[in-house]
Symmetry: C2
Subunit: 160 residues, 2 copies
């Protein structure tokens, strides 16, 4: 599933395994089950943990680290959305602002190509405004309260 979601294949597989198995597994179990290398397993687990999709767990009498996957699909979706927003929207907004700064009032002092620059700026502003909207929409979806997404589904369902 995750491979079409912009997530490395192995990382997606590790998460899928932990999600489906439901109970905590350790690195060796994961390696064996998925036929992947130790390095790969370690990296995938680290990423998944950074994202918050899995939690460390320990068994007493066992020094190995075990990992358990978040089980709530809504929460999983929220986490993935947050990450995608971070990767796909935030940098774009920053880039747009940088572009805008380059042709701001100060930069147009040269007064050459004035109207052309202004046309570009209009277009840029329109785009910045738009991405801002999408950004705040995404923000709602990932809000920790968790209300945004359910609300959207509910509202749009009715609004059809």
């Amino acid at each position: 599933m995750g491979s079409s979601w912009g997530i490395p294949r192995t990382m997606a597989e590790v998460h899928a395994l932990l999600y489906i198995v439901g109970e905590p597994l350790n690195t060796d179990q994961i390696m064996a089950r998925l036929s992947i290398s130790r390095g790969s397993a370690s990296m995938s687990l680290k990423s998944l943990h950074d994202w918050g999709l899995i939690a460390r767990a320990h068994r007493r009498g066992d020094r190995k680290e075990y990992f358990r996957a978040e089980q709530d699909v809504w929460q999983v979706f929220r986490i993935i959305t947050r990450e995608r927003k971070r990767r796909e929207i935030d940098p774009v907004l920053m880039a747009l602002h940088e572009c805008r700064d380059l042709t701001g009032p100060r930069a147009t002092a040269a007064m050459r190509h004035r109207s052309e620059i202004e046309a570009h700026n209009l277009r840029l502003d329109e785009m910045i405004e738009f991405i801002r909207l999408i950004d705040s929409l995404a923000e709602q979806f990932v809000s920790p309260s968790g209300k945004g997404l359910r609300l959207a589904v509910g509202l749009l369902g009715k609004a059809v």
Copy 2:
């Protein structure tokens, strides 16, 4: 921008160029401007055209084909969302259904691991239901009427 959006770099650049320039360009102009090969330009233009992000245009007295980019950011977003839904949600739904079929009533006839299979099925059903919701949400966003997205932004803005 588009490179973090799951779109090939060159394709994104071609679209950006056409969008920013605003007026139609032909293949040679695009090649020159972006320093890319003819094949690459042709393929990118084909994809963009398939998506509906650019339209063919002709100048009289000129046999070359010109391309003009869709100028409305909302429409651009809708098109990209439609494509991403097609690539990221639809196949997942199909895969989930396939999985579900494998462990459906017929398959459990063997009666072994019965409860384990049922637990998996519950999980699977939960996920299918969830992805269905997301899918219909996306459907609203890409609806040709174009109301879905604006509505969502409006509603959620108020709902904060």
